[in-house]
Symmetry: C2
Subunit: 293 residues, 2 copies
């Protein structure tokens, strides 16, 4: 196995995501050792050629690279504390979900215990792991990422290195999730509105899809330019204009008995910026309202 | 002027949107009479060939079709009450922004006063009026819309008739605006997160853009099918999984001093659905949380 893409790897944690990661390595031909607190989750992987190690220390000792994906950082930290001796000198690629501070603290622990550490954030559901459209963000030592990039290729079509700060992958992850949750919640709110008039969701779909493509997507790079240049003055769609319009949305939602907490949260940010004297700014000016807490 | 697309038209209200509408008619060659409470806003239009009528009753009497776009329904209702005699027998296309109930009440008033009424919602900023990508939703009598459709063409590349209910155009309008505000606010929240790590907005743009194209946009038709068929069970991204992940987002935002009201509003809806026993549902199940108020 001279191909660096097929070196041995250990996967810790066989939840839906961990099992998908281990499966991607097995399919790629990497000698794959797996560990999970309950052995049952390893059965399907062992049938495909993975080796199950019932003792986590044995699993870590099986090879030079450990990919970890457990339920929480609390669990991860406890597992690592109990296997510090075996982890020394190993490469750890940690794909556990948590906060940026969790990831940074894990990197500090790794540094203190002689562990070479990369943090990653998986921007895919388990069903997408191994496919070209899967994306994983990585942070940590650039040298270590360059060394491990080939080995990690079976996991995702795109692996993006974001720099030395191990908290940044999780920040990008949470940023994209914030965009996803807010967008979809706004869509579900819209569907609740049209359903109140007896319109099925699918009748509204072409308009929502066209709106995303022609109005929302183009607003992203435009807003980014305004934010980075700190120039928000607009004659197209000012906060003053949006303030008046969002009042109709909140009022209509309440009249119809539809939960209005989501638009009300945006309304409060718009009203705060207008009260601060920024009524002639574009919506992109709201980034400063978010930053004001 | 036998072309039905170039018949005479009166435009009431010359704010940014009203002036853009009048301008589109003038450019198309329609004899255009304009009225505004303050005459100054008519000057540019008169220079291009519009006729300014200082008395609203005179403006209405000038032709068979009145397009109204004033600041609020309160203003509209007062203007119409003072010109009921002149409006009798006329066609009114009302593009004033308000709530669906405002539009329905205006239709009732029109019916009672012998006015033929269409309501419309303009899904465009004034700068887009008259362009192919501009969209206007219409509601009211189908026969009346069919009769006036040609005349209204200069205003927007696409005019969509949504049915007899004059409240529906404003519901679609508010639905799309809800999607816009929530999506952009989610994006601004994401930018606040990445800026906290020293990353400029433009560095995050390609990931946000790709995420919208490859993850958010495809989720719209998929969610619509789930909603219309009332079948929300999923093995891909359940509310249980999202509940755990959104906790990280809210916690991280708070740690960083970034306003978390937007994700917290979504989190509350997710938690409510999970508490109701729908943890194995997809996010689309949130539409029912919105409908529960």
């Amino acid at each position: 196995m001279s191909n660096t893409n097929q070196g041995p790897v250990t996967v810790l944690g066989l939840g839906m995501m961990g099992a998908a990661l281990a499966n991607a390595f097995v399919r790629n031909g990497n000698p794959t050792t797996v560990w999970n607190r309950s052995a049952g989750k390893a059965e399907a992987l062992v049938a495909q050629g993975a080796v199950f190690a019932p003792d986590i220390r044995e699993a870590i000792a099986a090879g030079p690279v450990v990919v970890a994906c457990v339920s929480t950082y609390e669990v991860l930290n406890e597992l690592f504390a109990g296997a510090a001796a075996e982890l020394k000198g190993k490469v750890v690629v940690n794909l556990t979900s948590g906060t940026p501070e969790d990831a940074r603290a894990a990197a500090v622990w790794a540094e203190q215990h002689g562990v070479r550490y990369l943090d990653g954030a998986v921007m895919a559901v388990p069903q997408m792991i191994g496919l070209p459209q899967a994306l994983i963000f990585y942070g940590g030592s650039q040298e270590l990422f360059a060394e491990q990039e080939e080995l990690l290729k079976p996991l995702a079509g795109t692996g993006v290195y974001l720099g030395e700060d191990t908290g940044v992958p999780m920040i990008y992850d949470l940023g994209l999730l914030s965009l996803l949750w807010s967008s979809l919640a706004g869509y579900f709110h819209a569907v609740a509105l049209v359903r109140s008039a007896g319109v099925p969701a699918e009748a509204f779909t072409p308009f929502a899809a066209g709106w995303i493509e022609h109005v929302i997507a183009p607003a992203i790079p435009q807003s980014a330019r305004e934010i980075d240049s700190n120039s928000f003055e607009t004659e197209v769609s000012s906060l003053d204009v949006n303030k008046a319009a969002i009042e109709h949305l909140v009022a209509t939602s309440r009249q119809l008995g539809i939960n209005s907490d989501l638009p009300a949260a945006v309304q409060a940010l718009i009203e705060r910026r207008v009260a601060q004297g920024f009524g002639t700014h574009s919506l992109a000016s709201l980034v400063e309202a978010f930053e004001q807490g």
